[in-house]
Amino acid sequence: MGRKLLLDKAHIPGIRYYDTYKGNGGYAAAEKALKGMTPDQVLDEVKKSGLRGRGGAGFPTGMKWSFIAKPEGVPRYLVCNADESEPGTFKDRYLMEFIPHALIEGLIISSYTLGANTCYIYIRGEYAWIPEILEEAIADAKKNGWLGKNILGSGFDLEIYVQRGAGAYICGEETALIESLEGKRGNPRIKPPFPAVKGLWQSPTVVNNVETLAAVVPILNIGGEEYAKIGIGKSTGTKLISACGNINKPGVYEIEMNISVEEFIYSEEYCGGIPNGKRLKACIPGGSSVPILPANLLFKTAKGETRMMTYESLADGGFLTGTAMGSGGFIVLDEDQCIVKNTLTFARFYRHESCGQCSPCREGTGWMEKLLKNIDSGRGKMSDIDLLWDIQRKIEGNTICPLGDAAAWPVAAAIRHFRDEFEWHITHPEEAQARNYGLAHYADPREIAVPA
């Protein structure tokens, strides 16, 4: 069994409530920080832990925190990103629903470290029942002296508020989130200035993912050095993976970042393999934005090394033969699935979610969806594949925020690895309506040699 730091108490009945959480060692890390450590000492532990942002980009959290500007007399803000809208991702929801105090405790420690006296949790609007759970946890924490004025006699004040979004993936992007929190459309801002200098209401602001902020609690409990011993290289600690698609046991798993992708998919401890004796066709291991990998590149890298569930190993080979950890939204496709259809649903998603500010993204996402729809429904032309390739290349890197890249990458990877399946849809339009292409040569790598 892998070590659990975030979900270690998830099985305890009533852990959602203050008394149970507190009775099982909860708020010990907050007490340790506020009573016995300076903000800089806490920052030091977080730096030592090697913790990297769990929202998708994997940026070192300690470094991010050290960038926050500290002009005299200007308030600073911590914003918790609970927008969780990347397809395949549902881990933050699990934490907030079942162990809300772990997040609240993380917010207290993190706000203390940053010198922020107000913290907002920005949660996607569709998670409509979770704000009540969080607000109850906040109220109980406050009643017990963990929030409000002069917490534990430390002289530190903190209030936490929950803000609901209203249906917009783009509001997960940190500057769009800030705009939304200011009561505006979620149009990303041009950076610089970065939020750490001018964020919410032009004040220094740190935006971090739910899981990142919750991870600060075990880091203080066991110490940054101890945390950094878990995992491999720069992938330290544990990571929540939300697994879905064609697997026996979809759900949220906490892994130590030292297991292989193969173990994650096939072991009973995690996904439990693929239902109905089907074979694995492909996997998108980090949410819809990261490149899809065919089975033959998933378990072994192009160099023939075992692919591990770490930031580095998943990315091994770059976008040619690798993928990314992303948000940890792990999507598995079995041999019966259609890559064209799957790519189409993602293209539709990004078209729907583009904020419309930048023309390459606004126009390009709609165009890609239309072409994919044509190919999927048997009305495609061979030249459409090259056109798709061309469009995605012209979106990538040409937009204010990375939503454009996120829309381009899945299309690029699908064509790169499954071009013959796209071609088959065009050469066999009728057959493609009646059946799926199947596994083709993307066989289970345990049976077929990895191509050089």
Binding site: P75, E84, S85, E86, P87, G88, T89, F90, R93, Y120, R124, G125, E126, Y127, A128, W129, Y161, Q163, R164, G165, A166, G167, A168, Y169, S180, L181, E182, G183, K184, R185, G186, W201, S242, A243, C244, G245, N246, P250, G251, V252, I284, S288, G329, I331, L333, Q337, K341, N342, T345, F346, R348, F349, H352, E353, C355
Partner: protein
């Protein structure tokens, strides 16, 4: 006349108090949610103008926001809106069949409302329940692991609640 009750006006005040002085525009999204819940599940232009006056905003500032976010309904909807997720992970687990089944059972297309005004069918993009697919949102809650039998049960349950 569009008008919040005393209780809801207090809620609005409480929301505004979450932000620094003069930043009451930040209350816009939460207050629009409150307005939509209160006034039949959608935002008419009267409702939006009312929210603008409450928060001392120009009406256009409210329209801009209401038209950007997909959860705000700008047209009347049925009492229960079935928002079925159709993105990749749900599609892999059969969301297309669920959408087809609901269409057939209720006799409506996506975007339509049943004649009795009870049900509206919408397709939506990933709701963060991919591991419990196929799924839909109905009101505040998620209905997960859908099957045709489960859809029947939900429809019967909501009809019985009348």
């Amino acid at each position: 006349m569009v008008q919040f009750s005393e209780e809801k006006l207090n809620k609005v005040k409480e929301i505004i108090a979450r932000y620094p002085d003069g930043k009451q525009k930040s209350a816009l999204l939460p207050v629009l949610h409150l307005a939509q819940e209160t006034f039949n599940g959608w935002l008419s232009s009267d409702t939006m103008d009312y929210v603008a006056s409450l928060l001392q905003l120009e009406p256009i500032e409210v329209y801009e926001v209401a038209t950007f976010y997909s959860m705000y309904n700008l047209k009347p909807v049925g009492k229960y809106v079935f928002e079925v997720c159709q993105t990749g992970p749900c599609m892999l687990r059969g969301s297309d069949d669920i959408i087809a089944y609901i269409k057939q059972t209720l006799g409506i297309n996506v975007g339509e409302t049943t004649a009795d005004g009870l049900f509206t069918l919408k397709t939506v993009e990933c709701l963060g329940a991919c591991g419990y697919a196929p799924m839909m949102q109905v009101g505040k809650h998620y209905r997960e692991h859908l099957t045709p039998a489960k859809v029947d049960e939900i429809i019967a349950e909501l009809r019985a609640a009348q």
